[in-house]
């Protein structure tokens, strides 16, 4: 099967998934979650144009997402109050234009240098814009932000986009378009040179390319796509506030992209889906969810800097010939101490969190996995401790066998590949 056929099939599958998903899982919460996932997929992919494709680590990318969102909100309000014949589905283009413009303005400053200096400029610019947000009240709406109403625009083919299901399909459409476009970009001369600049900026200059121009161009295009995401967020939430340009949102997209995997195109998609899912579902279950995110991030940095996509891709060569089954016994063995350590760790965090934060008001007992526990007694702590440390030690003991299984599985494949 040729590469382009494989890619086309993948996109077809994605389109089908987008269309069918709300019918498979049709609860209201799921619909909201999927809509948000769609927005974040665009945002994370656009962020990875900088990080994974061109090697530019930005700490202030929410600026382009947020500013475009504000522009879109204002545009929607303007259109509604003047009754202009511009339908809602076109609004993401306003976001794209805003992202493009701000990308050009700030990109001209940011991309003069790469590496650490670029990261610091992005941080500074992000803080600068966020600080201005508190001053310029007409554009940013102060503390309350800028509300907007998507049903006030002219209907499109009879749809007013009031119900969430219609908003979902609007987001899904633009998400699909952006995913295809951003993938296509990686297959252009420009896209290839972005990778070259990431790998070796010096050499890229010596084959005739200005690395500054490459960085600037990718920055502008990335901001444009972030702008689409921002506009869709404005449509989805019908409210834009200064949080969307702040350090929190910048950190969030970095987390999503990195955990998903910066080295593969689909990585940010995985990350956006997973983190959005965790964010929405975890925040109901536990109050310590932010802590879990931070720990997840650190664990990924330390043990799998290629993210989830990177880890999956490691296994790809083993799919041929089914050698992957050789890993199953070792993985199964490791799964036990891993599960124990995770369970123990979670229990410790929840116990600590409960005793430190909630116990003051709610007393020392709480529920976890439907088991009532008393944080004041020593038993839960003991169990948690044993699980955690036992699991950690067990994992350490079992680790070499994973290495062995890998060595055996790949040794075979080495024999077959040598011509």
């Amino acid at each position: 099967m040729t590469e382009s056929l494989r890619i086309s099939l993948a996109f077809l599958a994605l389109a089908v998934l987008f269309v069918v998903a709300p019918h498979v899982i049709s609860s209201g919460v799921a619909l909201t979650m999927m809509s948000l996932m769609g927005v974040m997929i665009i945002f994370a992919l656009s962020y990875n144009m900088l990080l994974g494709q061109t090697g530019l680590l930005s700490f202030g990318h929410a600026v382009y997402y947020g500013l475009a969102g504000f522009c879109a909100a204002h545009a929607m309000n303007l259109i509604a109050s003047n009754k202009l014949p511009i339908p809602l589905p076109v609004i993401p283009l306003v976001g794209a234009a805003a992202g493009l413009v701000f990308g050009i303005i700030f990109g001209a400053i940011s991309t003069r240098r790469a590496g650490t200096v670029f990261s610091m400029i992005s941080l500074g610019l992000g803080e600068l814009v966020a600080a201005f947000a508190l001053v310029l009240h007409t554009f940013f709406g102060g503390e309350e932000g800028i509300p907007t109403n998507r049903v006030k625009l002219a209907p499109f083919l009879g749809y007013k986009f009031g119900p969430q299901i219609q908003v979902y399909y609007l987001i899904a459409f633009w998400c699909f378009v952006c995913v295809v476009l951003m993938y296509a970009l990686t297959r252009t001369p420009f896209g290839r040179m972005c990778n070259a600049v990431r790998d070796n900026p010096e050499r890229a200059e010596f084959v005739g390319y200005s690395t500054q121009r490459i960085r600037f161009q990718t920055f502008v295009l990335s901001s444009m796509f972030s702008g689409v995401a921002g506009a869709l967020a404005a449509i989805n939430f019908e409210l834009m506030n200064s949080q969307s340009i702040g350090a929190g949102t910048s950190g969030q997209v970095l987390l999503m992209t990195f955990v998903g995997g910066v080295g593969h195109f689909a990585g940010p998609i995985i990350g956006a889906v997973l983190i959005t899912f965790l964010q929405i579902s975890l925040s109901d279950i536990t109050k310590a969810w932010m802590l879990y995110f931070g720990l997840l991030f650190i664990l990924v940095v330390m043990f799998s800097p290629g993210g989830i996509a990177g880890w999956l891709a490691l296994h790809q060569p083993l799919l041929r010939g089914g050698r992957i089954v050789r890993l199953i016994p070792a993985y199964a063995l490791a799964a036990i101490p891993l599960a124990a350590a995770l369970l123990g760790g979670i229990l410790l965090i929840e116990l600590a969190h409960h005793m430190l934060v909630e116990a003051r008001s709610g007393g020392s007992s709480f529920m976890m996995f439907r088991i009532t526990m008393d944080g004041a007694s020593v038993w839960p702590w003991l169990c948690a401790g044993v699980l955690f440390f036992g699991g950690a030690l067990g994992l350490r003991a079992v680790w070499p066998s994973i290495g062995n299984a890998w060595a055996l599985a790949t040794a075979d494949s080495a024999e077959k590949v040598t011509p």
Partner: protein, 341 residues
Amino acid sequence: MFAQLSKSTAVDFECGTHGLLLVRPSREFHMLQLITFSTLNGVLYGMLLFMMASGLTLIFSMMGVLNFAHASFYMIGAYFGFEISRRIGFWPGFVVAPLLVGALGALIERYGLRQVHRFGHVAELLFTFGLAFVIEELVNMFWGKLPVDYRVPPSLDFVAFRLFDTTYPAYRIFMLLTAVAMFAFLLIVLKRTRVGLIIQAALTHPNMVAMLGHDVPTVFMAVFGVGAALAGLAGVIAGPALVTQPSMAALLGPILFVVIVVGGLGSLGGAFAASLLIGLVQTFAVAINVSLADVIGPFAASAFGELGRAPLAQIAPVLPYLMLVLVLVFKPTGLFGNRET
């Protein structure tokens, strides 16, 4: 906390969102008074920034790692100081808290950062980024989201001097003295000891230092620990004067990066100059507190809209970042530096 600090009505002291020591001019407004106190406060703020920026510069120069969690060590120092001063006393806290923070830093380097080293600088940066996040969440968990009551010790709680009807608290002088002492100590170590010589060399030629046979991993651990301890010390003394709350790291962190980038990556002298510059600029901006409209007239300022009407105090948080962007555009190596990465 501020009842102790503002003993007169001539000038009101206030703590702004960035924990700045603000001087708001009230009715009896003396220019000289304003300049004196703003300079004092500006220098103090600058010295505090330098206490942290120096550690950050050392860590960056030797290890190539921009420690995002540096302001977090500052915060931990404040909270440790608070806990110890609450149970035992301020002075034991003053000595012990920075040591604890230093030990924590060394452990983090040994068991965390070192594992990530082989993945490159970006991974190290991301590790410290995640670390800062986790530390803030843990502080939230252990001490709550509200500020804690970390007080100036009674032994230092008196008026240092009176000038133009205004008092200046002794604790601020103590902070200044501590910062100066630390700076002098750093200078002596760097210029007069063998260790200092190695560090100076590593500031500009880290690879060479490694090749000369020094036990680089241990040196790294020590540098990271000392850097953390310095930041912790800054936290211990700043805690009672500024607000001790979980967001103090997030508020001060970015400014710290502005300082070392504006000063020049890898340049201690640059970090010193930039710390003072930013400290003074921010303090004066808040003190002067005029708006563009006040200065150039309402009509001219209306072209800038809200920006023209906004008082300088409101825009003050923006100024360091504006400086950062300007410096990076015109002189990417910073004012005194010659390294870009």
